[in-house]
Structures are given as structure tokens and as C-alpha cells.
């Protein structure tokens, strides 16, 4: 091989850290000790997490664009809460959420073909497949077959069981608590609610789903540090194949936490900005790759949307906002975004969802750039999937009980602490002897 062309070098010096010397020590409550992953291998801990985390936090279940018309609905399976939800746009255009259970004999109300699969559609009413009890889009029970044969029944008392549902920037959140401890906006806090992004313009959606044998936090952790890509994914493109990256690693330019939420910003991928030798041939030809289409979408202007690049870094490439507990939004400099959802199924199994959103392509060239972007996401994600199943096995061996986390793994340390804190708090309030 001939002499390598130059790439911008990563170095710690280019990415200054807080005065304390590290992002981790800037937040003394995080500590610097090795971390236990008992919370990711214990079935008992998972049982607590169901109530302490997933039935208390606001959970994102989708976007308003999935509910285009009055009567549009989708179902959401929440195995972690052992329930299914119906999310529906009513005749009054209000978005509501209900438990997907008929009040008559407990049958699952809305499903097709397979009772455990999610569906979507448009309807005027929900009629139970079993005995035909029928509900309006606002949850009211409006029809009982042979009503006169029931005993003193008042239909007003038998509406669908509603779930707290609020919308922020088009993202539909639910809260399974009887009374949420905070409103959605209070829960999201100032760092997240500062975001004001033209989500409604990015309607071109690609949706991936995976069923993976690892704990949800073990899996999520791989998507909140940029320390592993040069190694685990190092073969996938010539930039990362460079010895330079292996030797010098990758430095996140900004970390920030706000309550249970966190963000990491990096210089991003310099899509198309490096010399051609650093891209795979298909990337050069289609002007796209891991960092999405190289050419900025029409939403990109000289000013970044409010809330992005919270560290105000000069060479900004992406923000990875981690919204507690299991939702992430990743904004890219070329004007598209990704969401991730990590839905626990068991202590060692999750459903992983990735959605990529772009502006609608105006021609085949733009459509192909999107296709290459999302195909590349799959190549990388599958490497993570395989590896994290292996990590789960390693942890479950219990050969080692604590694990050192470096400063690049700041966000992993934070999630680990927040989950433990929420579970401890719940234990104190609910299960003390």
C-alpha cells in the first residue's frame, strides 16, 4: 500500500474537557469507580425496573405523522409493562392512548392475524372480535350486544382504560402511572425541550426492528459511546481502517446531562468532505454512507435549529440525545435524524427499533442516497447486535462483577446510575418492609 492520504487527526487536545479534568469528574455524583452490571443480568432487578422505571417515566411510542387522519390508530406492544396500547387520533383530532383491553371479558381489542403483533390503520370505532362490544375513538363504550341481559350495567362506567398521553414536537409519549409524577415537559427538562426542530418536514421514514438477546441497557450503552466504532466497526470504511484511528481513538466533543437525560455531540462523519480514498466505492458513487446523504437536505440553513449543538462546538457533526429511559434522537449535520427505541422484553432480551427520517426525496439520486444511508445503518447495527449478545453472555457468567468505564463512556455510567437511583427510590417508597 502506498502512503496514506491525510485525515483530520483526532486528539484529546482538540476536544477540551471540563476544568475537573474529565466529563465524569465534572459530575462527582457519578463517581469514577468500576461499575456493576448486576442490573443487566438479574431477573429480579428487571421485575423491579418494570414498575420503577417503565411504569413511571414518560415513554415515546411514535410520532403524530403515524396518525394522519381522524380515526388513524396504531397499537404498541409494551412487553415491559405486560400491556398493549391503542394510540388513536379522535374525531376531535386529539391524540389519545388506551390499554388495548375490552372491558367485557378482557380480550385484546385491536389486533389482526396474530394477537402479539402491532398493527395500524384507520377506523371509526373499535369493535371487539369476541362479543362485539364497541368503543368510540375517545374510548367511550357505545354498544353492548344484548345489553338488556346484563345486570344493572352502566355503559359510562365501562370505557377503555385510558393512559396519560402528551405530545412534544410531534413525538407521542405515554405514561403508565395512575398519576404521573411530572408533566411530559417537566420530565423532559430544559435541555430536551430547548430542541425546536422541523420534524414535520422529515416525513420520509424507514423503520427497522430487531429482536436481540441482550439486556436493554447493555444494548443501549453501545449507542451512547463513540469509543467502540473504530474497533468494532473498524473494517467498514477506509477512514476507520486507518491505523491512526485505532491508535488515537475517538473523542466526543461535548457531553451534557440534564436530570435523567444526556447528550453527546461529535464532529460527525465529515460525509464526503475527505479525500475520495477514504470512502467505499459505492459511497463515492452515491454520495452517502453511515452519516447519511452527503448533500444537505432542504432544512439545512446557516443557523442550526434551537437546542442542537448544546456545547456550541465549532465543528459540529451530530448530537445524540438520550431521553430516559429508552429513547434516543440523533441529529445529523446534513439535515436528517434517527430515533432509537430499546424495548425490554426480559432481563436478557429486547426489541430494538431504529427509525430514520429524511425530507421526501425529489428524485432518484436523492432516494438512492437515503437507501445507501439506511443500508449502512443495518451493516453497523448487526455488528452491534452480534457483539452485545456476546456481552450479555460474558456478564451472565458472573466471572467478573465490576467493570471500568472510561471518560468516553460517561453516558453509560450516567444511565447505569440513573436506573439504579430510580429503582432505589421506588424500593424506598413501595417495597420497604
Amino acid at each position: 500500500m502506498t502512503e496514506s492520504p491525510k485525515v483530520p487527526r483526532q486528539s484529546a487536545r482538540q476536544h477540551p474537557k471540563p476544568a475537573e479534568g474529565s466529563w465524569t469528574e465534572h459530575h462527582p455524583e457519578l463517581g469514577t469507580d468500576p461499575v456493576s452490571y448486576e442490573s443487566s443480568i438479574s431477573p429480579e432487578f428487571f421485575e423491579l425496573e418494570r414498575d420503577a422505571v417503565f411504569k413511571r417515566a414518560w415513554l415515546n411510542v411514535g410520532r403524530v405523522e403515524q396518525l394522519q387522519r381522524k380515526g388513524s390508530f396504531f397499537t404498541k406492544e409494551l412487553a415491559v409493562a405486560k400491556t398493549s396500547l391503542i394510540v388513536v387520533r379522535g374525531m376531535d383530532d386529539e391524540v389519545r392512548a388506551f390499554h388495548n383491553v375490552c372491558r367485557h371479558r378482557g380480550n385484546k381489542l385491536v389486533w389482526t392475524d396474530h394477537p402479539s403483533e402491532e398493527i395500524s390503520g384507520t377506523c371509526r370505532k373499535f369493535a371487539c372480535k369476541y362479543h362485539g362490544w364497541t368503543y368510540e375513538l375517545d374510548g367511550r363504550l357505545s354498544f353492548i350486544l344484548q345489553e338488556g341481559e346484563f345486570f344493572g350495567i352502566d355503559k359510562a362506567q365501562y370505557g377503555l382504560v385510558s393512559v396519560h398521553c402528551e405530545v412534544w414536537q410531534g413525538f407521542i409519549f405515554v405514561n403508565l402511572a395512575k398519576e404521573p409524577e411530572q408533566s411530559l415537559r417537566e420530565f423532559l427538562g430544559p435541555m430536551i425541550t430547548a430542541i425546536d426542530y422541523p420534524f414535520d418536514k422529515l416525513t420520509q421514514r424507514y423503520y427497522y426492528r430487531g429482536d436481540i438477546r441482550s439486556n436493554w441497557k447493555v444494548f443501549l450503552d453501545a449507542f451512547q459511546e463513540f469509543y467502540h466504532p473504530p474497533i468494532l466497526h473498524g473494517h467498514q470504511n477506509p477512514v476507520m481502517r486507518q491505523a491512526d484511528y485505532r491508535d488515537k481513538g475517538f473523542y466526543t466533543s461535548h457531553f451534557q446531562i440534564d436530570g435523567p437525560h444526556r447528550v453527546g455531540s461529535t464532529t460527525g462523519g465529515a460525509g464526503g468532505k475527505l479525500v475520495p480514498e477514504f470512502y467505499n466505492p459505492i459511497e463515492q458513487s452515491m454520495r452517502s454512507g453511515l452519516f447519511g446523504p452527503w448533500d444537505p437536505s432542504e432544512i439545512v440553513t446557516d443557523e442550526l435549529p434551537p437546542g442542537l449543538n448544546p456545547g456550541n462546538k465549532k465543528h459540529w457533526g451530530l448530537d445524540s440525545f438520550q431521553i430516559f429511559p429508552n429513547f434516543a434522537i440523533v441529529f445529523w449535520e446534513t439535515g436528517w435524524y434517527l430515533t432509537y427505541h430499546y424495548w425490554p422484553v426480559a432481563h436478557n432480551r429486547l426489541i430494538f427499533e431504529a427509525n430514520a427520517y429524511f425530507t421526501p426525496p425529489r428524485n432518484v439520486r436523492e432516494r438512492l442516497a437515503q437507501e445507501l444511508g439506511i443500508a449502512t445503518i443495518k451493516e453497523y447495527a448487526l455488528e452491534d447486535c452480534g457483539t452485545l449478545e456476546a456481552t450479555q453472555m460474558g456478564l451472565e457468567s458472573r466471572v467478573v462483577s465490576t467493570f471500568p468505564l472510561g471518560d468516553q463512556e460517561f453516558m453509560c455510567r450516567h444511565l447505569n446510575k440513573v436506573v439504579n437511583d430510580w429503582v432505589d427510590d421506588y424500593r424506598r417508597k413501595h417495597v420497604e418492609m
Partner: protein, 111 residues
């Protein structure tokens, strides 16, 4: 089915069209996994040099009003994207070290 699948300008690619004009990503990915490297290399070598020509041809039509033969050419390009990873990176059909993990595209825009 028509005797030819692709626009006449791209008749040299007809031998690949019957195999690789597939409507959905899961079909295309499954096809990649059951193909040999020789098959994929031949497909890649035939189509890769014509990417720009194909895009220029397809962009004569509105994206949402592609004639049937043009749509099949676009599907061929989608397949080329999936084949590029084994050919350019992995030297094998599947990604190394991915075990039995699944990650499927459940929803994608058409075309």
C-alpha cells in the same frame, strides 16, 4: 411477464434482472445471503460502472411515476447497494460475527 424487464438502454443487465429486481429490502437481503461471492461480484461488476448512467436515465421521470421497466432498474440499484457490502468490505455474503441477531426493515417508502 414481459420478455425484457429493463429499459432497452440497459439490456446488457437483463441476465441479472430476473434474480435481483426484488420489491422489498427483506427479499433483497435474503437474496444476498443465499448468493455466492462469484454471483454477487458478477452483478456488481456489470452494474457498478453504470450507476451514474442509470441515475441520469431514471431522473428523467418523476420519482413517483416511474414506468415499470424503470422501476425495475431502480430495484436493481437497491440490490446493488446491498451487494456492495459483501463485495467491497466483507468478502463474504453475511457480516462477520453477527450470530443469529435479526434486524429487519419493516417499513420503507415506495419506490
Amino acid at each position: 411477464m414481459a420478455a425484457t424487464l429493463l429499459p432497452p438502454e440497459f439490456s446488457a443487465l437483463e441476465p441479472f434482472a430476473r434474480e435481483w429486481c426484488l420489491a422489498s429490502e427483506p427479499e433483497r437481503y435474503a437474496k444476498r445471503l443465499r448468493s455466492t461471492m462469484d454471483e454477487m461480484q458478477a452483478f456488481y461488476d456489470a452494474l457498478f460502472p453504470r450507476i451514474q448512467e442509470a441515475i441520469a436515465y431514471l431522473d428523467k421521470f418523476p420519482l413517483h411515476d416511474l414506468p415499470a421497466d424503470a422501476l425495475r432498474l431502480l430495484q436493481l440499484l437497491y440490490s446493488l447497494i446491498l451487494v456492495s457490502f459483501p463485495v467491497e468490505i466483507w468478502r463474504q455474503p453475511c457480516i462477520p460475527d453477527t450470530g443469529t441477531a435479526s434486524f429487519e426493515l419493516k417499513l420503507a417508502p415506495v419506490p
